[in-house]
């Protein structure tokens, strides 16, 4: 009797949990829609440039000669270069690499980001993995981001991924560091205001445009590098790129951004 109801019970439970992710997404959209009532929520894919017109004008100028262009071109060449066994990235990724909207995904009990998937592909085909901060990794992911432009983020959070999602969410809301900030303090509570001259952007849209060329870095860098910088800024420990907590944080931020337009690579100050 009970066994017969188990699938039904399971369905109810899992749909309730799925609804939680959806409820979080709705809550984020509603929060920023209310905070910035004159800005469509989708506009936050441009980060701080959705909020500050003077900065936006400078940024559009920078985008006229996109500083990430070489990275995309070099990445395309790398993407097309066959592996030693004759296969290539095309054997792992569909549509010429226009797959970023499906990442991160939850596979084999862990969050697989784009960078991790690139390395999994290489190792599967007898190649060495790339360092996550290597130029080659940034070039490949620049190309993949570019090929994936204009797709809508389309990741799903299956039942068995919920604990990872929850941990990512918890990371987002936890105070850390000597200065005692959570991500939400800067990117929700005081979003849009200025820390000295820095205008704080909305978290909704934080994941749509990576990797990104930053003037401050003078090169293209990853989302996790930015996480590390935001952690460091408040005196908290910066974690290694692609460490489990950062992958889960990215998973959370991407799940709540489902439906947003991919617009990477981008440039930022």
């Amino acid at each position: 009797m009970f066994v017969r109801f188990l699938p039904v019970l399971f369905m109810i439970l899992s749909s309730a949990s799925m609804a939680d992710v959806e409820a979080d997404r709705e809550a984020f959209r509603a929060f920023y829609a209310k905070r910035f009532s004159s800005i469509p929520v989708e506009a936050h894919v441009d980060g701080v440039y959705a909020l500050d017109e003077a900065k936006r004008a400078q940024w559009l100028e920078m985008e006229e000669f996109p500083p990430y262009e070489f990275s995309v071109d070099d990445g395309e060449a790398l993407y097309d270069e066959p592996f030693t066994d004759g296969s290539g990235y095309g054997d792992c990724f569909a549509d010429g690499g226009a797959v970023k909207h499906l990442y991160p995904r939850f596979e084999g009990g862990e969050v697989v980001t784009m960078e991790v998937a690139v390395n999994q592909c290489r190792v599967q085909h007898g190649m060495e993995s790339l360092a996550y901060d290597s130029e080659e990794m940034m070039q490949l992911t620049s190309y993949i981001a570019y090929a994936s432009r204009d797709q809508l983020i389309d990741i799903k959070v299956p039942e068995d991924a919920l604990p990872a999602y929850e941990r990512g969410k918890q990371f987002y809301y936890s105070r850390r560091g000597q200065l005692n900030f959570s991500c939400s303090h800067c990117h929700m509570q005081i979003v849009g205001s200025q820390l000295r001259a820095e205008v704080l952007s909305a978290s909704y849209g934080h994941v749509t445009h990576w990797p990104t060329y930053r003037l401050k870095w003078q090169e293209v860098g990853s989302l996790h590098r930015r996480f590390a910088e935001c952690n460091g800024q408040v005196g908290a420990e910066a974690l290694p790129l692609q460490s489990q907590p950062y992958r889960e944080l990215e998973y959370f931020l991407t799940a709540i951004a489902r439906g947003l337009l991919l617009n990477g690579p981008a440039s930022r100050k």
């Binding site: 000597q178 200065l179 005692n180 900030f181 303090h185 800067c186 509570q189 005081i190 205001s193 200025q194 820390l195 000295r196 001259a197 820095e198």
Partner: protein, 107 residues
């Protein structure tokens, strides 16, 4: 005894001015107080606008101890405060907090 009192009377305004100067330095220094990241303060350049401007402090904080508590740990009054707990997290020493508070109280 008389001599000591006399000395105090002469010395303490000087010490005060010195503390206020040190407090100002700490408050403006990006790697120490960095109060300007969030607060407008007279004489400070490029302030943020996260938090209320620090003006007319004696009128609004007649009790120095209330002001000191805010700097020592802002989450006592507002658990969700974004203001760093300078004392509780040891961002500034007790002496430095007193100097910052003296400076802020003078605004």
């Amino acid at each position: 005894m008389k001599k000591v009192l006399f000395l105090l009377a002469v010395v303490s305004p000087i010490v005060m001015a010195d503390d206020i100067n040190k407090g100002r330095e700490l408050a403006f220094d990006r790697s120490r107080g960095n109060c300007l990241a969030c607060h407008m303060m007279e004489g400070g350049e490029m302030p943020g606008n996260v938090a209320p401007p620090l003006i007319a402090m004696k009128t609004r904080f007649p009790e120095r101890s209330v002001l000191r508590e805010q700097v020592w740990d802002a989450t006592i009054r507002n658990p969700e405060s974004v203001m760093p707990p300078y004392g509780r997290h040891g961002v500034l020493t007790e002496e430095e907090i007193d100097q910052v508070v003296d400076f802020v109280h003078s605004l």
